[in-house]
Every structure is written in structure tokens, then in C-alpha cells.
């Protein structure tokens, strides 16, 4: 599903992982969390280092890292919140799973966390059940659970895709604020290039299981080098930039069974050359802070 994916996040940094469905961005994040079901899935090779520790060999000890050093939020909060327990119980459990604090202490921390994520009337809200909350509030509750143990890394997988645009700005703003307050690193997985531009420091573009381009956000948007990145940017209508016909990328993403030996984008690429079909281009530095996997990049 994913192939030779390497990247690093520094402390306090926000890294965007962008791509369309099936590109492997969520699989990558789940691999970091050790959450891909085995079998059928399997990490065949590679390492995942968090603060110097390799997570892949940890086995059951991974459970302590997950939730404590790495927090995670998903697109649909209802899949992670238990509908039969109150908000208070679920956040308290997230705390007590990793730290032996008293019931009273956990209660106080729940209130504090709900305040931190901007939930008004937390004393009332914490006794409610997930279904009693709006989508935006549920996402705030999930963020509260994810940061309960002050993780070093927050993985946010399409955290605002299910939300309305005015609520989306609230949540993105909240993640940014918490990151600054707590010095967290954030791995933000999204299909939305606008969100990446507004929230990330660096960005990785994935296509069909591989990284095709990695750059600082400013550099990437100023000049995308991979034809896929360029095509993706051009094909999205932009407010205030109306054009009669949108540029398109022909065809569609190959499924894992249809991927050939060469560059996975070759069949859709306007700049394709013979060797693109035979040999996959390696991801290599093209500048100090920039990597690219392409035999015939954009001029």
C-alpha cells in the first residue's frame, strides 16, 4: 500500500501530508500509531522513531506511547467517541489510562481540558453524551482527549473534512493555538491544499503510495516541481480566480493492483518519458530543504 515512505518532523513543527483518496496518507499515519490491523497488513521494513525510540519493535508497549506521546484525531469524531459514555467519563479515562491520578484530580483535568479546547459551559457539557453535541463540539472533545496527556505529536487525519467551513476555521485555529501553547508537533493529513497553505510549515505530497514531493509550504506553492503537484493545484477552482475551463489531470489514481514498476503517475502525466514507465524515480534532494521524485520535473 505504501512504499518507501520516509519523513521527519521536528519539535513544534506542522507537517502536512496531502494527497487524494488511496494515496496512502492515512495508512502512513496509522502505521505511525501502530494501528493498522495485522494481519492482513504488515510493515515489511522501515523504522518509526519517536524521540529516539523505535516504535515498530515495541509490541504491547506501543499502547503506552499511543495516547500519551502521540495523540490522534480523526475526520469523524463519532467513530472514536463511545456513544454510551459521558464526555467526562471518556476524557477521564484517556487521562487515567496513562497516569494514576485520583478521580477528583481527573475531574479537574477534564474541566481544564474542555476549557482549553474552547468548550463553553464545561460543567454542563461534560455530563452530556456525544450525540447531544454538534459536529464542531464533538471534534473539540476529541481534541481534548488527544491532548489529555500532553503528547509530543498530534496526528490529525482530515480533522475538519466533515465540518462546515465556518466551524473548520475554528478547529484549525484551535489546533494551531494548542500547538503553540504545548509545543507539539502536528502531522496534518488532508486533501485540501488550502488548509495546508494556511496551517503547515512543510508539506509532503503523496501519490499512489509514494511520496512524490516534499518542500517548505512557501516553496511548494510558489513553484510545484512534480507534475502531479502542479496538476492538483491547477485543477482546483480558486475563489477570485475564475477561469472558463479548469485544467484537469486525465484518468484516475491506479489501485494498488494496477501500479506498475515505474512512476505511478506516468499514465496520467503530460510530461511522461519512456524511462518513467520502467523505473520509479527516487525521492532525492533537489535543494537543501526540498525533495522530489520525478524524471522530468516542471520547468
Amino acid at each position: 500500500m505504501i512504499d518507501d515512505v520516509s519523513f521527519a518532523l521536528t519539535r513544534g513543527e506542522t507537517l502536512g501530508l496531502v494527497g487524494e483518496s488511496g494515496c496512502g496518507k492515512s495508512v502512513t499515519a496509522m502505521a505511525v500509531m501502530g494501528l493498522n490491523p495485522e494481519p492482513p497488513s504488515r510493515v515489511e521494513s522501515g523504522r518509526i522513531l519517536l524521540e529516539g525510540r523505535d516504535l515498530l519493535g515495541l509490541g504491547p508497549a506501543m499502547r503506552e506511547i499511543r495516547g500519551e506521546r502521540i495523540g490522534m484525531i480523526f475526520q469523524e469524531p463519532m467513530t472514536s467517541l463511545n456513544p454510551t459514555y459521558t464526555i467526562r467519563f471518556q476524557i477521564a479515562e484517556a487521562i487515567r489510562l496513562h497516569r494514576p491520578v485520583s478521580r477528583a484530580r481527573a475531574h479537574a483535568e477534564v474541566l481544564e481540558l474542555l476549557r482549553m479546547v474552547g468548550i463553553g459551559a464545561p460543567e454542563r457539557r461534560m455530563n452530556q453524551y456525544p450525540h447531544e453535541l454538534s459536529g464542531g463540539l464533538r471534534q473539540r472533545v476529541m481534541i481534548a482527549m488527544a491532548i489529555a496527556c500532553r503528547p509530543a505529536l498530534l496526528i490529525a487525519d482530515e480533522p475538519t473534512t466533515a465540518l462546515d467551513v465556518t466551524v473548520q476555521s475554528q478547529i484549525l485555529d484551535l489546533i494551531k493555538r494548542l500547538q503553540a501553547e504545548m509545543g507539539m508537533s502536528v502531522l496534518l493529513i488532508t486533501h485540501d491544499l488550502g488548509i495546508v497553505a494556511e496551517t503547515c510549515d512543510r508539506v509532503i505530497v503523496m501519490y499512489a503510495g509514494r511520496i512524490v514531493e516534499e518542500a517548505a509550504v512557501g516553496a511548494l506553492y510558489a513553484r510545484p516541481l512534480h507534475p502531479y503537484t502542479a496538476g492538483l493545484m491547477a485543477s482546483r477552482p480558486r475563489l477570485g480566480h475564475r477561469q472558463p475551463v479548469l485544467p484537469t489531470i486525465p484518468g484516475m489514481v491506479p489501485s494498488p493492483g494496477q501500479r506498475g514498476a515505474g512512476c505511478h503517475f506516468a499514465d496520467r502525466c503530460a510530461r511522461v518519458q519512456d524511462r518513467c514507465r520502467d523505473t520509479a524515480p527516487p525521492l532525492e534532494h533537489v535543494e537543501a530543504e526540498r525533495k522530489l521524485a520525478c524524471w522530468n520535473p516542471m520547468p
Binding site: G194, A197, V253
Partner: protein, 324 residues
Amino acid sequence: MSELLRVRDLVRHFPSRDGRGVVRAVDGVSLTLGKGETLGIVGESGCGKSTLGRTILRLIEPSSGSVVFDGTELSTLDRRRMRALRRQMQIVFQDPYASLDPRLTVGAIVGEPLVIHGIGSRETRRKAVLELLQTVGLDEEAAGRYPHEFSGGQRQRIGIARALALRPKLIIADEPVSALDVSIQSQILNLLAELKQDFGLSYILISHDLAVVEHLSDTVAVMYLGRIVETAAAETLFARPSHPYTQALISSVPTPDPGRRAQRIMLPGEMPNPEDPPPGCAFHPRCPMAMDICRSTPPRQHDIGTGGTPHLVTCHLFDGAGKA
């Protein structure tokens, strides 16, 4: 431009869940669509935009109000005549999979409207289906396959082919690209633009995606909690949004330009429950400009357009300006 559709004071209320109150899903909507025009209806989830589309077509019966389509008042038509007229008004849905019968071949799905309306012979229908598939960019051999064999973008093409089968005058497209990947969205948006030219269609495009709406629409109406709060030509609306909600909505869209991290108007809270709308202007609890009158009195519509082009805004901020 001659008028294709005129909606006046359209209302659709539903009984609330506890059975005691009403949900004002569509609460007095008026709009006009010219022939060959695209009207975009934009708003967030729960604003009533999808109910509005279905109520215009009488897929959901209106509680009150008037819909005149090509000179015919729809609200008083009997079933048989409504059905005959519906040939000219089709709908394309967001989820092309949920709206395609998985047990039918694509050929049968696309040809079904022709069968229902008793159009043509088996042979002419077969020809028409192949032609339709080609029109929307699918191979002829697609006719013999089933929906699950196709990707999301291709399924949306199938849905569009079916909508085109009866040569309608109006297509209501309800979030036609929201379920699709970015690189596939642009293909479908271009197809919709092309078909409009080729078939002389008019569209009502319902979407939460402002960039998509701006891209295709001539006129845009912004909905909030069952009502239209602002209507203007697309260029005007996006260049000079006047209702505080429209302004906030536009400013919330993330721009793919890291150099210009936009000044955002951050709205507090979320859209209120339509079972229990706030008094006065329904937007006032979230409005950065709210005044006392907004909390008590529903605002009236004002035309602040210049040069004869209407720019309608329903907001107390304009109480002194324009024509009420």
C-alpha cells in the same frame, strides 16, 4: 434573458422530532433562474439548500409558496401533469453510488427514464443510451457493466447521463462533486459546463463549496437556516459580499496561497437548530455586527444593486440603504 424558473415565498416545514413544533427547513425562499443560466445556492449543512432543491421539483411537497417553471405553476399541477413536466427537470445527486441501482446495468440505468416515460423503441433507446454514455465521456461498453465496477467520478458521469436522457431544460445538481477527489472534481465540473453549452441547459447548483459555486454560477444565493440572506451576480457576491454571514463564509475558505494567510472573520458557535431558530434575524447570535433590532425583528430584503443588476441582501445593516 427569459425566465425559466420563478420561485416565490417557498416554504417547507417538517414536524419536529418531538411532534410538537415545526422545523422550518425552507422558510420563505424566492429566487429566479433565467434560461441558460446557472444559479448557485450555497450554505452550510442544515441550512435547507438540499430540501429547497427537492421542494422546487416537488420531490418534497411544499408547505406553501409558488414555483413557476417555464410559464407553468407547479404547485397546483395534478400528479399526472407534474410527472409529465418532470421530464424537463432532472436532479443529479452528491453520492452517485447511492443513487444508482446496483442490480441494474449502466445501460438500464441510463435508459430507465426513457422507459418510464415510454419514449422510443427498444432499439432507439439502446442507441440513445450509447450516445448519452459517449456524451458524458464513458465508453460504449460501460452499458453492459454494473455501477460497482466504476470509480466515483465515472459513477457521477453515469448519474449525469441518466439526468440528460430526457433532454431536460433544468438540472438541479446537489453537491455534484463533493464526494469526488480533487483531480476528478475538475473533470466533472468541466463536463457540466460543456453540457450546459451543448444542450442549452439551466442549472441550479447546490453546494457548500464556495469555489465550486463561484466557478460555475452566474448568480449566487447564500442560505442560512432556511432563508436566503444574499443574492447577487457571482462576481459581485464574491468581490463585494454584503451580508455579514456571506463575508464570514468567504473569509473562512482556506486559500492555497501561503503568502496570503487571509484575515479571517471568525464566527462563534455553529448554525442553530432549525427546530428552535433564534428570534429576529436567525444569524444574530453569531453575527459580529449584531444590533439590538436584530435580536427582535426579522430583517427585510433590500436591493443594494447598482446599474439595474439586483443585489439582494436581507439584513438590518441596510435598513437605510437601497430599495426595501
